[in-house]
């Protein structure tokens, strides 16, 4: 059983996790991990030992469990009753509620994420985006899950692939300034040096909306360090391909809100096969068992495993009881019904995001695809980190990376399928959650 051996030496802030299998690469390997709660990073233990002559304050025996990098959710609309697309009369209250979400979210194993705002009015974007920007600079473990920047899903999307987004707030961008006008200049343009990161990290748009999207808008966003994701789109294979060539590097919830694969025009899905000379993009997949058929998930993974990212697309009903909940949608208010992991719009019965946690998606994926545990974990760690340009910082267990960890227990259920469960969560080198404690 796990035990703690405390060494009598002076405090170094270092914890050594031992007797564990780590899932940083392609296989689970038995290896110790040293983390520092002072720097919040994973240590190069050998250097610490020989150069600084330091030993860990505590040695934690994990009893053979799996250590994974902390999970990254690239599409989360809200959780635990708080919807990121919310305008409050008292906006500072928004910040407080966000902090509560972060503390609860981290307990699900999601140590960093992109708070996602659906198609809304410019007024709402400009009010909420300043709260949703990257929050890791303080490196406070107690703050819980960390925003890596906001994901704005719309409003420059196709009116015919809007899903449940309010059509009345959608726009056709003809110039880059249209984006500035909706999101607010300071939310998408880098400020002067030292002014901190820009709040928006990723924008989902439909590339076919205007000629300006692939020629001007995508390159401009790329140069600001914003990830452009194709989604809610009628794009043909050719249009998707040229968007990828222009710099789009992601696809938002593949298969959902886009044309299905046609054998003579494979549509957006086709760029997973080839995107011309450009590198094939990353793509988000909602493996909640409702959005996609299990086999569809497996096909997507097989088509391009290196780009496969599991996302929840969870609504604020994630973590709440089943029931009927209010939802602010663009210009007005709607009601959504949560039943288990399923969320539908009351008015139309259309799927309205999910209510699953990321670990459930990982378990579903393990069951459906036959992928190995490290491969499945990569879809919520290493791959999203690479997509966000955070390789070596997030999503891996290499020395120098942020010490965001999830300790997972694994059990083999019927049919030899492995199921994972979150036992412990570490943020910036400190344990912030332990199951049952």
């Amino acid at each position: 059983m796990p035990s703690v051996i405390t060494s009598p030496t002076s405090k170094t802030g270092i914890s050594k996790l031992t007797n564990c299998r780590i899932a940083g690469g392609d296989a689970l390997i038995w290896k110790d991990i040293w983390v520092s709660s002072i720097t919040g990073k994973i240590l190069q233990s050998q250097t610490a030992f020989y150069d600084e002559l330091i030993t860990p304050d505590e040695v934690i025996d994990l009893g053979g469990r799996i250590v994974s990098p902390g999970f990254i959710d690239c599409q989360l609309n809200g959780a635990f009753g708080f919807n990121f697309s919310t305008l409050l009369d008292d906006m500072p209250q928004y910040g407080k509620q966000l902090q509560d979400v972060n503390k609860k979210l981290v307990e699900t194993g999601v140590t960093s994420y992109l708070p996602t705002v659906t198609s809304q009015t410019g007024q709402l974007y400009q009010a909420v985006l300043p709260y949703l920007g990257p929050s890791g600079a303080s490196r406070l473990a107690s703050a819980g899950s960390e925003s890596l920047g906001a994901h704005v899903e719309g409003p420059f999307i196709s009116p015919t692939k809007h899903g449940i987004h309010d059509v009345s707030v959608l726009h056709n961008p003809s110039t880059y300034s249209d984006l500035e006008h909706v999101y607010g200049k300071s939310n998408i343009n880098p400020g002067s040096p030292g002014s901190g990161p820009i709040p928006v990290k990723m924008i989902t748009l439909a590339p076919e909306l205007s000629q300006a999207v692939p020629s001007v808008i995508i390159p401009q966003l790329r140069s600001s360090g914003i990830v452009v994701s194709i989604g809610h789109s009628e794009a043909t294979y050719e249009q998707a391909s040229s968007a990828v060539s222009a710099g789009a590097s992601m696809i938002t919830h593949l298969f959902n809100a886009m044309r299905p694969l046609h054998h003579r025009n494979p549509g957006i899905f086709g760029v997973l096969g080839s995107a011309g000379r450009a590198e094939r993009p990353y793509f988000g997949v909602i493996a909640d068992g409702i959005h996609l058929h299990p086999t569809t998930v497996k096909i997507a993974w097989n088509a391009h495993p290196g780009g496969f990212i599991l996302v929840t697309d969870a609504m604020h009903t994630m973590g709440l009881e089943d029931g009927r909940y209010e939802w602010r949608n663009g210009g007005g208010k709607d009601w959504i019904i949560k039943t288990g992991g399923e969320v539908v719009l009351e008015a139309t019965g259309g799927i309205a995001g999910s209510a699953v946690s990321l670990i459930e998606c990982v378990n579903n994926f393990l069951e459906w695809s036959g992928a190995s545990v490290p491969e499945a974990l990569k879809a919520v760690t290493g791959t999203p980190a690479a997509m966000l340009g955070l390789k070596g910082v997030k999503g891996c267990l290499d020395a120098g990376a942020d010490a965001d960890l999830v300790v997972l227990r694994d059990e083999v259920v019927d049919g030899g399928v492995v199921r994972l469960g979150v036992d412990e969560v570490w943020k910036f080198g400190k344990k912030v959650y332990e199951k049952g404690v």
Binding site: T18, Q44, F49, Y50
Partner: protein, 377 residues
């Protein structure tokens, strides 16, 4: 020298590991009087490290008051390179046990002054009170540490050029790329190892068989530097069956019988306590004197053999009383045979032989006749 032959590598490694653990426990080391352990790298000791780690995790042994000295390190290889011996030790041993980094000593192959580094290393060993137990491996050519064939048996810590065979053998740790293997190393000398109060060698596999045979059955020879262990009062080679393939059946059987009898009698070699516990360590500050003008290997060419043969058994085994050997009195074999026919000298008298030699140059035939006569005389 003891030779312990075990059925396979696992049993041999377990024996070595348990032996070390027992030694550490027996000393019950403290901060003031730590157990000083010499350590090797290579594939043979891997099993020993694995078991030491297991025993540590099982709470059977603590390395809190153990000071270690490693045998060697490559020159000019980044310290944290995966092929370095720093990395080897970290990966296989230090990262798993409670040893304090301040108690770990490994030669620095990147030191600006390699010579001074070697001198300081010898001084550090001395300051730690000398090595209680040196665990060692053995090369296919019989080398101990990087003391390649032809190394002086009186050598001390120094820079060495690696033998071609060793570079080829070690290329397996460098992706089989010959060019990536460092060509030089810092290593403790044969004498440094012999200075340890106890030396335990682990030799596994058929490739080590010839080296074991040379070092056990043949004489002390600088071409097989491990053979110098024959001069050590308390040394032991632990090997598996494969490593005995070149030994005479008689030799292997002999050593096995000894161990069997010893075991059945509950007999462990008894050494005076002074050997086991050593001498209190000197103050470190006082003793590290790096004298750059004097190379240690040159300045201390004290004869190994005379030192060992004289000093160790004669003075340190004071608990065992033996009657001194009688003085040598030359006598004739003939005098020991009762028959009076043999009492006279059968060999030619020296003075006659001299005469004979002189006449030989003049007249060989006559000389022959004279010699025949002289026998009859």
């Amino acid at each position: 020298m003891r030779l312990i032959i075990k059925d396979n590598g696992d049993v041999a490694s377990a024996y070595a590991a348990n032996y070390i653990i027992e030694r550490i426990k027996k000393l019950s080391p403290t901060q003031q009087r730590p157990f000083v352990l010499g350590l090797p790298t290579g594939s043979s000791p891997l099993g020993v490290y694995r078991i030491l780690v297991e025993k540590y995790k099982a709470g059977e042994i603590s390395f809190e008051n153990v000071v270690t000295f490693n045998m060697d390190e490559y020159v000019d290889i980044p310290r944290d390179h995966e092929g370095s011996y720093h990395s080897f030790m970290w990966k296989h041993f230090f990262s798993h046990v409670n040893i304090h980094p301040a108690n770990v000593n490994i030669l620095d192959g990147n030191a600006t002054d390699l010579e001074a580094e070697c001198v300081a290393y010898e001084a550090k060993i001395k300051a730690a009170g000398g090595i209680d137990l040196f665990l060692a491996g053995i090369g296919e050519d019989g080398h101990i540490a990087f003391n390649e064939p032809g190394s002086s048996l009186a050598s001390r810590t120094r820079v060495k050029t690696l033998a071609y065979d060793t570079i080829v053998a070690n290329s397996r740790f460098f992706g089989n790329d010959f060019d990536l293997v460092p060509k030089m190393a810092l290593t403790v000398g044969v004498q440094t190892v012999l200075d340890a109060r106890e030396v335990v060698v682990i030799a596994l596999g058929p490739r080590k068989a010839l080296a074991v045979q040379r070092c056990v059955e043949q004489g002390v020879n600088h071409m097989w530097t491990l053979s110098a262990l024959q001069l050590h009062p308390r040394s032991m080679i632990i090997c598996d069956e494969d490593a005995t393939l070149e030994l005479q059946v008689r030799t292997a059987k002999y050593y096995k019988d000894i161990e069997r009898v010893a075991q059945s009698q509950g007999f462990e070699q008894v050494f005076p306590s002074k050997i086991l516990t050593g001498f209190p360590p000197q103050s470190i500050q006082a003793s590290i004197v790096v004298d750059e003008t004097q190379s240690p290997s040159v300045s201390s060419p004290q004869s190994t053999t005379s030192y060992l043969l004289r000093a160790s058994p004669a003075t340190e085994y004071s608990t065992i009383s033996r009657s001194p050997s009688p003085d040598f009195t030359p006598d004739r074999m003939g005098s020991r045979i009762g028959d009076p026919a043999f009492t006279r000298r059968l060999t030619p008298a020296p003075e006659r032989q001299e005469l004979q030699d002189r006449s030989k140059t003049l007249l060989p035939a006559l000389a022959l006749a004279t010699s025949v006569n002289s026998v009859n005389a």
